[in-house]
Homo-oligomer: 413 residues x 2
């Protein structure tokens, strides 16, 4: 068992800096007074933090206005040109790279296809590095503050190690070190659901809601939890392994080695297996491709084919029970769906899933929860990874802060 994580006094004292930055992104060009109002911090605290952020060039003065005879009041903004943030969503089939300026305007979007071949660390790290270099080649000149790379599976951001990535056969791979060697840039690694949740907190529904859960439906099934505006990591960054909670004890075998996990049912391979048992050799399953399967089901729904409706019904009921479990455990205000399976089938799937969830979740929790799609305008994984890079940069220049400190009262700003 690990003891409580060590925190320095300075970390505790500066714990609200990120609330200020998040408020700045949300408000655009706020005054110090408006930042105090939005964060709930005192004017004196805000003034100190703004001075620090001005000193490292992360914030700049947007304008100065006369406040009616008194001291002129300046409006502040994030210093867009201070540097570039690179966010990477690395998956088994593609490497998606976004380059942002510091105002989080996306300057470059680059998709790097990962061809067939081994997925040993050397090759995959090479593919990721190539994607990043191509993206940066297309970006305007600027100080690259760091590269945030989302890796599938269990990732330990502090040590930079990929503990376990089953799809790639990785175990204890020093991914951060390998990437830094190739790129000669500071690299931060994390898990896609943590990145998605931070993106939602900073740039999406987290601006107005305290407790939210992001849900990914795809090959894998997972969740990211934010409570009181803060990302929940748990003891070892594994909180939110919703896909490996039980739908049926001793049920269908899951690729994780357990039986009966939610993912074994509603992960796309699980859906294909369930469908195949009912309709062996059906054309939706041709070639065994997950993308083809979902596209075929979608076409089937549009053409009103009964087996497509049957599948969505099954998927919706199972998803609804899973969502109710999540809601019963966490009691969030929002469940945010951020995935391709949800996007492709959502119109048919969500009404079934939501109805089942509302029957299954306890009343007091069902009454206050909404299910929505992501409000992050860019790829939430790469966007969240870029936010982590910004945190890392502030730490390197002497302004450490805990990951995604709460954004208080912004809802009332």
């Amino acid at each position: 068992m690990r003891a409580a994580k060590r925190r320095t006094s300075r970390e505790v004292r500066t714990g609200n800096r990120f609330a200020v930055l998040r408020a700045m992104y949300a408000l655009g060009t706020p005054t110090r007074q408006e930042l105090a109002g939005a964060t709930g911090l005192s004017f004196a605290t805000i003034a100190t933090m703004v001075t620090e952020l001005l000193a490292v060039g992360v914030v700049t003065e947007a304008s100065r206005e006369d406040s009616g005879g008194g001291r002129p009041r300046s409006r502040l903004k994030v210093a867009a040109g201070r540097g570039l943030l690179v966010g990477v969503d690395a998956t088994e089939t593609y490497v998606h790279v976004d380059v942002f300026d510091l105002a989080m305007t996306r300057l470059v979007h680059h998709d790097h296809a990962v061809g067939e071949g081994t997925s040993d660390p050397d090759r995959m790290v090479g593919e990721i590095a190539e994607g990043v270099r191509s993206a940066l080649a297309a970006a305007p000149d600027g100080d690259v503050l760091g590269v945030g790379v989302s890796l599938p599976g269990q990732v330990e951001p502090d040590s930079g190690v990929s503990l376990f990535a089953p799809g790639w056969g990785w175990k204890d791979v020093a991914a951060q070190a390998l990437l830094e060697e190739r790129l000669d840039l500071p690299v931060h690694v994390d898990n896609p659901l943590k990145a998605t949740t931070v993106a939602e907190l900073w740039f999406g529904h987290g601006r107005r809601v305290a407790h939210l859960v992001t849900v990914n439906l795809g090959t894998g099934i997972g969740a990211g939890i934010a409570l009181d505006g803060q990302l929940v990591r748990g003891a070892t960054n594994n909180a939110g392994e919703w896909g490996h909670t039980t739908l049926v004890m001793d049920g269908r075998p899951c690729r994780c080695g357990r039986d009966g996990c939610l993912e074994a049912y509603i992960g796309v391979p699980g859906l294909m297996a369930q469908f195949g048992e009912r309709h062996p050799g059906h054309r939706y399953l041709e070639g065994g491709s997950q993308t083809h399967f979902l596209a075929a089901v979608r076409e089937g729904l549009e053409a009103d084919e009964p087996e497509a409706h049957e599948l969505v019904e099954l998927f919706g009921e199972q998803l609804g029970v899973g969502l109710a479990n999540l809601i019963n455990m966490v009691n969030p205000n929002l469940v945010v769906l951020t995935s391709w399976a949800a996007r492709d089938l959502g119109r048919w799937l969500l009404p079934v899933a939501e109805a089942r969830m509302r029957r299954e979740a306890i009343n007091g929790s069902a009454a206050v929860v909404d299910i929505v799609t992501s409000a992050v305008p860019t790829n939430p994984v790469s966007t969240g990874m870029a936010a982590f890079v910004l945190e890392g940069f502030l730490e390197r220049v002497g302004l450490p802060s805990p990951t995604s400190a709460p954004l208080r009262r912004l809802a009332e700003a």
Copy 2:
């Protein structure tokens, strides 16, 4: 959907006061310097908070020692005699009342049996009030700072309303108001699992561990979650409804109305039903009493009766899967068991449950979690309710603070 909860600037600024008080309970007679070390707060912040706590008489000077020529350094302690805190664990069959001094020394323990009869609000409130009056009659004179009453089911502490207590047939009962009318004392109501978790944070394993989950096994099944040293309530105080997550989709009917909930299997009535299906009319089930059943199973285990072992095996496997789900969602350092079913059968039950949990939970989370019994020396429910009363008292005297602010770095103190 509710918006993020409103917080005043003052609440945010004073958010660390409880960390100071918790450190004081843990350290006994610390200096201001030691409090700063234990909480990670600056000496200046500590000095301000201690001044406030001295002013309202909650803290007092324990001793003053010469610090070698410099300014004398005083040791502080909680002012035991400042007043009495009453904690009440109200259940369907008994009302358990503890009276504490402010140093949380238990002065009186009183068990009030609730006889047969209706469980309408008037009668139950009367029983609780009678229990409290009897306990206070036995206590030394003192200023009663408040009464904390744990009520079963869904409770909304802010409004003081019991939203739903299925065992009593309560729905939207203004419990706090009814109790205050009878007792003429400030009353705080909450749910037993929230109280248990706060007790563990303040006086138990929470002193050294950041992320813990308390688990109750009894008629009902539930969990209380603490992350980063803070109680997790969720949007409407319903986080931790672990008993109503799924063990088997569409499985055994649960008293909550859903099918397949964990509680429908391993709540004591569920265990009795499962046992009865395998051994109809068995003497363990005589009279249908849950207490009798558990005692008979325990005797059966001691006498090595195969059907007792069979039951514990079934219970352990189902509990193990449930624990793995909890651990996969929350990724805690500790699971703390605090219940009669665990106490009576623990010696036989826990090895089975833990082995199954370790097979089922994902590796990175299973590797860091321990299962232990509570380290709270008194009844955790009434102890936690007394801690809530102390919070409420500080709020009334102008020192508000969020519920159980994190206790940082105490592990290294």
